[in-house]
Symmetry: C2
Subunit: 446 residues, 2 copies
């Protein structure tokens, strides 16, 4: 049950209110505080008296202000919590989103759980990730916005994520680290168990100054951070978009055995820029061997197409041709993954086209093509120019993710995601760790 | 008038058809050919006999196939054209989009003209740019997809753009250059006159191989290209998105006098990542001087905000406060441009909010804030998560562009655009060239 607490309200919206935590009739496990900071010491006394296990302080106005008195108040709250056996989330944070327990800090967050944990030193960044990742089929086990982390900190939540059977991938936005040696131990342990993807805020001088204003944390040297990340084989990313992209790759692509990509799409200029983007991302685009090119030429017409790699063809919209193409690519030894560019907007070119049928057929071809190729296949979209195209694209993403496909908004982002995750698999093998893949119960059955 | 030619059709859709170009009653200036390549020699004879000035061959199946006979056919067409005084656009290309003359190769292209010329060695890339740039207020004087460029080539169109009074900014997608020394001369002349932004397809080994399959052009050494670009002070970009972003900056931001940016937005973590992105893009985020920070603190509350830079505040949604903020920033000597993060999605948080009024008020605050700051102000959006938010965002972009604002899809892209264009202005000054700005007749009057 949920017990609303407010000394000035008896009842509202059909819910009975209690004047204080002490007055609640049943046991209380977890308290969410959004009172002003002036009342937090009294609240903590009440929680200790009631036997509460944890308190999340949404309440801000502590150490992060840079004010000495407010920093002291934070320490007093911590002292009371330690003495009374209460754990603290925050203060100055959005707290917990645990869809399986229907606990959430956003009223529009999905209640569908998934295998990804996200630990964030920023509430808005957590909201951003929780709002965008599900559009591409990524759902969460636990998300925590840790704020000032006066008690439970990034190491605690990372350790929890490493051991949590509901969590298969851990992602994090971190600005500063409380206890370096402990974090190093926990990070290595977590990364040995499952993929860990981290964006470090404060990677530059300007970012470090901003982080200091934000959570009052000293971001520390980025060189030290980089060493830590390399040592633990963590996937380090620069933006929340890259974080989402790497998580999508771990969530839906199987292990990637090498850097070679085949790019399948339409348009000569598009192919040229995609090949440039691949090489810039550190991924070779090996020419398809001559004998396989000849096989492709048997069913791909010559005018306005190329079968060298990038493979410039409309094949994706011809189911049988696309499966044949993927079958030929399954025998190209230097190709380790495929990227197929899906032009959802082309469903709108023909008047009265059945959009949903176009989307479903495209998903079917991609799923079966991936199987035929025997290699991970990432799907790249192009930016929608109109709301109705965006609507179709969102439906496509949901259908594709439900069918187990990794979808990216652009071919560049698909390439960069592969460039981020494949070295993680390689490094793991080099360290003698077992190959990692998403456990079967999370993989689409189709 | 338009004369449809087809020997097998008399009349269709109310239009009279002619059996050949020779049979057209009036004079013919320009011919668009979409017949198979087998008929092009006869067509060229007809055009010469009729006194046609130019032919655009949409027709493909020439040199780009790698086939010697088809390459020879291309040369025969050229010989006939040269002998008969006819100029050729293409073959293997989409041809011309000239909105002012209502000539277009896409039936959904806008008929509103604008000050940007775009020269493209890829038809699909040209379509991409023509479809996306107008969403942010960028319209075109002339767009040409040049294909194999057997006669008129990139140098001809670049020279035309440099002299064309309707063209104030030139953008191009190029794979290979026909005549290096001439291109070098023309490029320098064009870039001295107006901003030239080029994405070079085939910047890597893989891209060069793809370019060779595409237009049959040998892309040449990227090192030579880079030298050429530096020498001519051309803005070199890596993707079509960067091309759009740089053009938006030239189109709507005035000259930028230095690299220092102030970032105005909401969210501690957002600010940290924005500061990191700025420094990665080569733009310093100078702390606001202490005395100006004190002034800001007089009207920006302390909890959950920062006035150092990034400036973490809700001020954009309080008109008076935003103008005061911009007024203070006008006196920060190290700040040369501003980036304001506009969260259009927040219009949807309050039920029954008047979205259009929210959008209009935001545009008004940004326009007046830019004036108050006395510095170029770029507007950064965040990715829409729903079609209705995208719809509002598109309306916002149109309103903002009509009011003369530069809008970017993310803060990273806004930063990278500023990092691309401000050195162009600096280099121009160092060469003793007059400062460039968009002529007054193209600047919004508001």
């Amino acid at each position: 049950p949920i017990y609303p607490i407010n000394p000035k309200v008896d009842e509202f919206d059909g819910m009975k209110f209690y004047p204080s935590v002490r007055d609640v009739p049943g046991p209380v496990d977890h308290v969410i505080s959004s009172i002003p900071s002036g009342g937090v010491l009294q609240l903590m006394d009440d929680c200790v008296a009631k036997g509460v296990r944890s308190v999340h302080f949404f309440t801000a106005g502590f150490r992060e202000t840079g004010d000495a008195e407010r920093a002291e108040l934070e320490q007093q709250v911590l002292a009371k919590a330690r003495a009374g056996g209460v754990r603290i989330v925050g203060p100055n944070c959005m707290g917990l989103y645990v869809p399986e327990s229907r606990l959430s800090f956003g009223d529009d967050f999905p209640m569908r759980p998934g295998p990804v944990a996200f630990i964030s030193q920023s509430g808005l960044n957590a909201e951003e990730v929780v709002r965008y990742a599900p559009l591409r089929g990524v759902y969460f086990s636990k998300v925590v916005s840790i704020g000032n982390a006066v008690d439970l900190n990034e190491s605690d939540f990372l350790e929890y994520g490493a051991e949590d059977p509901d969590t298969q991938i851990i992602a994090a936005y971190l600005e500063g680290i409380k206890d370096g040696p402990r974090f190093r131990r926990v990070l290595s342990k977590a990364s040995d168990a499952k993929p860990v993807v981290i964006v470090k805020g404060g990677a530059t001088g300007a970012g470090t100054r901003a982080a200091n204003s934000h959570t009052g944390s000293l971001a520390g040297s980025f060189a030290v951070w980089s060493g830590l990340v390399r040592q633990a084989n963590v996937v380090a990313v620069k933006t929340l978009e890259e974080l989402d992209d790497a998580v999508v790759a771990f969530r839906f692509l199987g292990p990637i055995s090498g850097p070679g990509v085949a790019i399948i799409g339409v348009g000569g200029g598009v192919s040229v820029l995609a090949a440039d983007a691949a090489e810039r991302a550190g991924l070779p685009v090996p020419p398809i061997p001559d004998d396989l090119q000849s096989e492709l030429r048997e069913f791909i017409p010559i005018a306005g197409s190329s079968v060298r790699n990038p493979i410039d063809t409309h094949a994706l919209h011809d189911h049988a041709q696309f499966l044949k193409l993927c079958g030929v690519l399954s025998r190209a030894p230097e190709i380790h993954s495929l990227i197929a560019i899906a032009r959802i907007d082309w469903a709108f070119v023909r008047p009265n086209a059945d959009i949903n049928q176009f989307l479903a057929q495209t998903v079917k071809s991609l799923v079966e093509g991936q199987r035929e190729a025997g290699r991970p296949l990432a799907v790249a979209l192009t930016a929608p120019a109109k709301p109705d195209v965006m609507d179709a694209m969102l439906r496509f993403q949901t259908m594709a993710a439900d069918a187990g496909l990794a979808v990216y908004p652009t071919v560049q982002r698909a390439l960069e995601a592969i460039a981020l995750v494949w070295p993680w698999h390689r490094e793991r093998a080099e360290r003698g760790l077992p190959a990692w893949r998403m456990p079967l119960e999370f993989v689409a059955s189709k």
